[in-house]
């Protein structure tokens, strides 16, 4: 599975709330950020958690968000950022 996104790409985290062992924190769901870097391919932990050890291998990225975009009432430097590891299937390009 070739990574779809490149560093610098603008992406949005999907908004879903599926049950289970989800690695995408609630606070960034629906938020827009920038791909900081691609960090490798890993077996999907959301499947592995249920004993599916043949889980597909999925690309993982570090996504950089502006704190103001995550917390509208964020107090601090407007340049402050937060970086979160997000699997590709949780991301969509923002130009869609």
């Amino acid at each position: 599975m070739t990574p779809v996104f490149q560093p610098g790409d603008a992406v949005r985290v999907l908004k879903g709330s599926p049950p289970g062992h989800i690695r995408t924190p609630f606070y960034v769901r629906g938020c827009e950020g920038i791909v900081e870097r691609f960090v490798g391919k890993y077996q999907n932990p959301e499947e592995m958690a249920f004993g599916r050890f043949d889980a597909p291998i999925v690309p993982l990225y570090r996504i950089r968000f502006k704190q103001q975009d995550v917390w509208p009432d964020y107090r601090g430097n407007p340049q402050d950022t937060i970086e979160v590891e997000i699997y590709e299937f949780w991301l969509e390009p923002t130009n869609l």
Binding site: R23, T24, P25, Y27, V39, G40, Y42, P45, L60, R62, Q67, V70, W71, Y74, R75, G76, N77, Q79, D80, T81, I82, E83, V84, E85, I86, Y87
Partner: protein
């Protein structure tokens, strides 16, 4: 009155009370019973985990401070760079983030308490607390202040939430006035909290 039981690893004079304590004991005993692990192996691993401190992390930081090429390697491929120093971190996927005069990095794991144990030892209790895990992402500057770390307003604070397969280590800023120190002396300045990013490295 001393209670007798068969759990060798259970050294305190108390009984398990929570669901997870019972679960841990049940899984551990099953693994031993099935011959997948021995009680001795478990004891040795626990002992080794308990004895580990932040010295290895400090060693990595000091090397990066004195050797620019090493620093570049560390920032590009931390797992490889750490192994170059003869430090065994197993399958750990490490990422090192660099503090600069413009950016200060802070590490948290909001989902659980992921931590680079092979480099820093066991995490402090506050790192695992619900309060730190929720507030470090929500109001990092307030949390930093509570740890005595007052950063200039114009400096960017960058929080890293360790949510998936990587573990993080902060490369702190080398304090001024330390040009004459040896690598070992520099390593002695580097404390655990500065490699989590909740403090900076000080030199008086």
């Amino acid at each position: 009155m001393k209670r007798s039981h068969t759990h060798e690893n259970f050294t305190m004079d108390s009984v398990p009370s929570t669901y997870y304590q019972f679960l841990e004991i049940s899984v551990r005993e099953l693994l031993i019973e099935k011959g997948l692990l021995s009680a001795e192996e478990i004891r040795k691993t626990v002992k080794e985990m308990d004895s580990r401190g932040p010295e290895r992390g400090a060693q990595v930081v000091a090397r990066a401070w004195v050797d620019l090429n090493y620093k570049q390697l560390l920032l590009q491929n931390a797992s490889y760079a750490v192994k170059e120093l003869g430090i065994d971190i197993g399958p750990l996927q490490l990422m090192v983030v660099e503090n600069t005069p413009k950016v200060h990095n802070l590490i948290v794991c909001t989902l659980c308490s992921c931590y680079p144990r092979s480099l820093l030892g066991l995490p402090p209790d506050w790192y695992k607390s619900r309060e730190y895990r929720s507030r470090a992402v929500r109001e990092p500057r307030a949390v930093l202040r509570e740890f005595g770390t007052n950063l200039p307003a114009e400096m960017e604070v960058r929080v890293h939430d360790s949510t998936a397969d990587l573990r993080y280590l902060v490369l702190p800023l080398r304090p001024e006035g330390t040009q004459h120190l040896t690598e070992d002396e520099l390593a002695a300045l580097v404390k655990r909290d500065s490699m989590i990013g909740i403090t900076t490295v000080e030199f008086y």
